[in-house]
Amino acid sequence: MDITNTIEAAGISLLFLVLVFFPMEKVFPARAEQKFFRKHWLLDLCFFLGQYLLWNGFVLWALSYVNFWLSGIIPHDFRNMIASESWWAQAIEVILLSDFLIYWAHRLQHRSAFLWRFHKVHHSAEHLDFLAAHREHPLDTIYTVGIINLPALILGFPLEAIAGFIAFRGIWAIYIHSNVRLPIGPLRMLIGAPELHHWHHDVKRDAGNYANISPIMDIIFGTYTCPDHEPEAFGIKEKLPNNYVGQLLQPVLPTPKDRNVKLANVKLKM
């Protein structure tokens, strides 16, 4: 793909997001005192540009590779059996399986120390808005995108068939991070809402609402929470560099604790 096209796509996407979310965040703010150019907005812009200009291609390649690998090991009979089902049954299976998998995979990201190293980058945002939604470590993105798409890849379901649905969920995922409070009533239990996901970003790490989009899994597994006010603070308790390169590198570099363990092992061998 042409670099000019990539830059153009990033620019148009950013313009589109600003057009959609700037008025919403101004007219229906969750935190009225939060400015558009708030603290660390430049860092989140770097994540946005990094995602569009650098990492998207890499994520797509990884997904494509997994798809190719799966195509070789999934029995054709199994896929034929799935294909013989009606289109809507396949679509529901893929969506529910995807929601189920990502719910537990997301809980694991909060529980496993290894996965949290990458996922905490996303949670380090102290101000939530549409731009902060893009703060994500590329390896964390591969994990998330891979798990979300796994059912479709295994079942051989063409995602193009539900492109409109995927597009809606994609932008809704950005919306739930935005600095907007516009309650939609019981519908939020089906498609999610900013007031739910903001609680997931509460500085207390395990506040609930793990379902990335539809809160149905949270309701089923008892992690749904929806207080009538905003959390006091977003972010994480751990220290993380406040620059783009630092946030990309910190999760992959050994922590001082790791180094101490290695030193101790060396001393023991001596």
């Binding site: 959609v20 896929r79 063409p158 995602l159 492109a163």
Partner: protein
């Protein structure tokens, strides 16, 4: 902060709904069909990214080599119409079993035979939209 009036609230919600509906229509290929008969727009199955535009995707139109075959292709990402998307571009050649790169796909010509997930297909036309 001054409370926005009702008109502003309605205008903002309308803009929000209108733009999202436009985006969804765009990514699901409604506009694409107007632009080209040979290509369709795809939504990248990422939930966090708007992703690259449909015009960025590698699109090729192929037709089945065996004209007598009537069953569905049943290949992931390849609908019955025979459109291959950029994501599905990993194809193995029948002889060497190597993975085609984007460069190889660009070099494909009308009439070339390729094997996709074990199914033989003849390239009808191949092009990359810019």
């Amino acid at each position: 902060m001054k409370t926005p009036n009702l008109f502003l609230k309605i205008a903002t919600i309308s803009l929000f709904v209108f733009l999202i509906a436009g985006f969804v229509a765009y990514r699901s290929g409604v506009f694409g069909e107007f632009l080209s008969a040979n290509t369709i727009a795809t939504a990248r199955p990422s939930m966090m990214s708007l992703g690259s535009s449909p015009s960025d995707s590698l699109k090729q139109t192929v037709k089945k080599a065996d004209s007598t075959a009537t069953s569905k292709p049943n290949l992931p990402g390849i609908p019955e119409s025979g459109v291959i998307h950029g994501m599905e571009r990993n194809m193995t050649s029948s002889k060497s079993g190597v993975v085609f790169s984007t460069k190889d796909i660009e070099a494909l010509k009308k009439g070339d035979t390729i094997i996709i997930s074990g199914k033989k297909q003849v390239v009808d036309s191949a092009k990359i939209r810019n």
